[in-house]
């Protein structure tokens, strides 16, 4: 869809990503198809548990194939995103994934402090005092509003236990 402007940086092709996405949805459809048949997709005095998802998956697979064909017919030139843009995206995505992976074992507060610090120092080039103030201030704000006012407990880890929160 998007036309790469002249002299633009290289990047993965839109066509390849379209095909990849179509294959992904096709694969998902096949998994659902398999799962529906496994619990029974027929009629047993009434529709069985897999009846509805079975037909959903059939339509899903059919339309994925259509998308696959139209993806194959797409022009080869347009770029999905320039490598520079993807690098930008990864700069957010990777810290975010690490953040999410830390939450189950460390709770939400400590990883949040880290995440904000990393963003402000590494991407935003801020000075440490401001970064630390924001990084501690935001979780503190949520602690007070959610846990104290709304009495909604958030996940905590060993560090909060040490502080006796």
């Amino acid at each position: 869809m998007e036309q790469a402007h002249h002299g633009a940086e290289a990047g993965p092709k839109q066509r390849a990503v379209e095909i990849g996405t179509a294959l992904l949805t096709l694969g998902f459809g096949l998994i659902v198809l398999y799962g529906s048949v496994a619990v029974g997709a027929g009629w047993d005095g009434g529709p069985q548990a897999g009846f509805f998802p079975f037909y959903v998956a059939l339509i899903l697979c059919g339309c994925s194939l259509l998308n696959l064909v139209s993806g194959l017919r797409e022009a080869r030139e347009p770029v999905f995103a320039e490598y520079g843009q993807l690098r930008q995206v990864l700069k957010v995505l990777i810290p975010a994934c690490i953040y999410v992976a830390l939450v189950p074992s460390f709770g939400i507060y400590f990883p949040s402090v880290l995440l904000i610090l990393v963003f402000m120092i590494w991407l935003g080039h801020y000075k440490w005092p401001l970064a630390i103030a924001v990084a501690l201030g935001v979780p503190a704000f949520f602690y007070i509003t959610l846990e104290r006012w709304f009495l909604i407990p958030l996940p905590k880890g060993p560090i909060e236990a040490m502080l006796g929160l």
Partner: protein
């Protein structure tokens, strides 16, 4: 006639509930939160409401829906601020507002553009609320006679019009929808008590929560998209003083034709789940063709702000009608609100008007008051929100990530959901970049269980014969409308061919 009088009586009681000081306070909080949500990238109406939904579990349903629906109105208002001042649409439906709103701001008429945008939003919303007041009870009463087959037919119509109205390729819209339906099936099957599609993962026992999907798809996905642009805010400052407001208000009445047309387009597009975004584009396009100053559209024509804003707000508000009366939300945000109703133990649909009259009319009355409160608040607080936008993205982005994570966790107090949110976020980025619409996916997750239930009950009743969906006049006409809506692009193409012209949509 009796019924209309009855409704006014109900509405009067509703105003009594909505004008309770606590509820007015909630309205103001909701609108302000909503504007912030609408202004910030990565937070929008749908996921903003999804994140805040768990906070309302301890409130009464009426107060809860007032707070959440006001967040929705606020988000609708907020989208206009970023469009006009920064040329960055905060919400998809305010893209069309940038066409003339930002040129106006660049030529120093930001205050005028914002006043026009807010006032038009208010007019659009007000028109839609009056329509809801008059029509929703009738629709609900009519829908009381719906059996499972008719219910399924309504769902079919809703989803088919997505396929027909969407500007994305139909196959992609259907794929997106079916992914939603499939995800909604995961977990315990309520009818047979069997586990399905869990493949032995205990984390999947409870299925996929649509709130997690909304927070991931719209929140995380949007942040990733924003990062790609390498965001740099270069905004115009804005101050609205009463003189500018007054001056702009004096010019607005002469656009009443555009305004009325946009209201009608918006209401129509909002009731069918095509939503606010196409409504705003369509309204802008038609205004451009019909207006005397059509050629000057795009260079800062005030009418070019009035048209899309009126339609977007009318559509966003009208989306509440099918949600309340039929249980079929007209927009992703309305879908999240519908999910909220289910969580609070209310069954959306025609019975709501009978069993929960207080709730329904309290909500409708709060729409009137909320939009008035909203208009006053946004006109007076614009500089504040413009200042929020100047906070650099390297601070905003991690804070929004943290908010999304907290929101995802609080839905079920489950850390696994936070991981799922991330998966949905990456999926959202990928789908958005490859032109798969996200709204049908969300609506399908929300409506999947009800649609499946209606489908199975109808088939059970007919002994498995699919002909049950064509068995009487009512169900056949709804299904017929659905088929027409689904293949509408083909029909339009055929008409164009017959006329021998290649009419280009604006």
């Amino acid at each position: 006639m009796d019924m209309i009088l009855d409704n006014f009586n109900h509405l009067y009681h509703g105003f009594g509930i909505a004008s309770d000081p606590f509820n007015i306070l909630l309205m103001a909080i909701g609108i302000l939160l909503g504007v912030i949500i609408g202004v910030l990238p990565g937070l929008g109406g749908a996921n903003g409401v999804a994140i805040l939904l768990p906070l309302t579990f301890s409130m009464s349903p009426t107060s809860a829906i007032i707070l959440l629906s006001c967040i929705y109105w606020g988000a609708l208002f907020g989208g206009a601020i970023t469009s006009v001042l920064f040329n960055i649409p905060g919400e998809p439906w305010s893209v069309a507002t940038t066409f003339d709103g930002h040129p106006m701001a660049r030529s120093g008429r930001a205050g005028e553009a914002l006043t026009a945008a807010f006032t038009s939003s208010f007019v659009g919303a007000f028109f839609a609320i009056v329509m809801i007041t008059l029509i929703a009870p009738l629709v609900a009463q009519f829908a009381l006679q719906f059996g499972p087959a008719e219910k399924f037919a309504v769902y079919f119509l809703a989803f088919a019009s997505f396929v027909g109205m969407s500007k994305e390729p139909p196959a992609k819209t259907i794929v997106s929808m079916m992914i939603g339906f499939a995800l909604a099936c995961v977990g315990l099957d309520m009818v047979t008590g069997q586990l399905r599609l869990t493949f032995g993962f205990t984390e999947l026992l409870n299925g996929f929560d649509f709130l997690i999907a909304v927070i991931g798809l719209f929140g995380i996905g949007e942040i990733l998209l924003t990062m790609e642009e390498g965001l740099e805010f270069r905004g115009k400052a804005a101050k609205i003083d009463p003189k500018v407001v007054w001056k702009t208000w004096k010019t607005l009445p002469k656009f009443w034709v555009t305004s009325l047309r946009s209201c009608v387009i918006g209401c129509w597009m909002g009731i069918t789940p095509a939503g606010a975004t196409p409504a705003s584009f369509m309204s802008y396009g038609i205004a451009k063709r019909m207006s005397k100053n059509g050629k000057n559209f795009g260079n800062g024509e005030i009418e070019g702000v009035v048209a899309p804003e009126t339609a977007a707000h009318a559509a966003g508000t009208a989306a509440m009608l099918p949600m309340l009366a039929l249980g079929v939300p007209g927009s992703p945000t309305a879908a999240v609100l519908l999910g909220g109703l289910l969580i609070w133990g209310l069954q959306p649909g025609p019975m709501l008007f009978v069993e929960q009259a207080e709730f329904v009319w309290g909500l409708i009355a709060s729409m009137y008051l909320g939009n008035i409160v909203g208009l006053i608040l946004v006109l007076t607080t614009v500089p504040l929100f413009a200042a929020i936008l100047r906070i650099p993205f390297s601070i905003i982005a991690p804070v929004i990530l943290v908010i999304c994570a907290i929101g995802a966790y609080t839905v079920n107090n489950n850390v696994f959901d936070v991981l799922m949110m991330m998966v949905f976020g990456v999926l959202g980025y990928l789908l958005k970049k490859t032109n798969y619409p996200l709204a049908p996916l969300v609506l399908a997750i929300v409506l999947g269980p009800s649609a499946e239930e209606a489908f199975r009950q109808a088939l059970l009743y007919s002994g498995g014969a699919v002909s049950v969906f064509w068995s009487n006049g009512l169900v056949s006409s709804i299904m017929g409308l659905g088929v027409i809506a689904g293949i509408w692009p083909l029909i339009a193409l055929l008409f164009a061919k017959l006329r021998g012209t290649s009419a280009q949509p604006a």
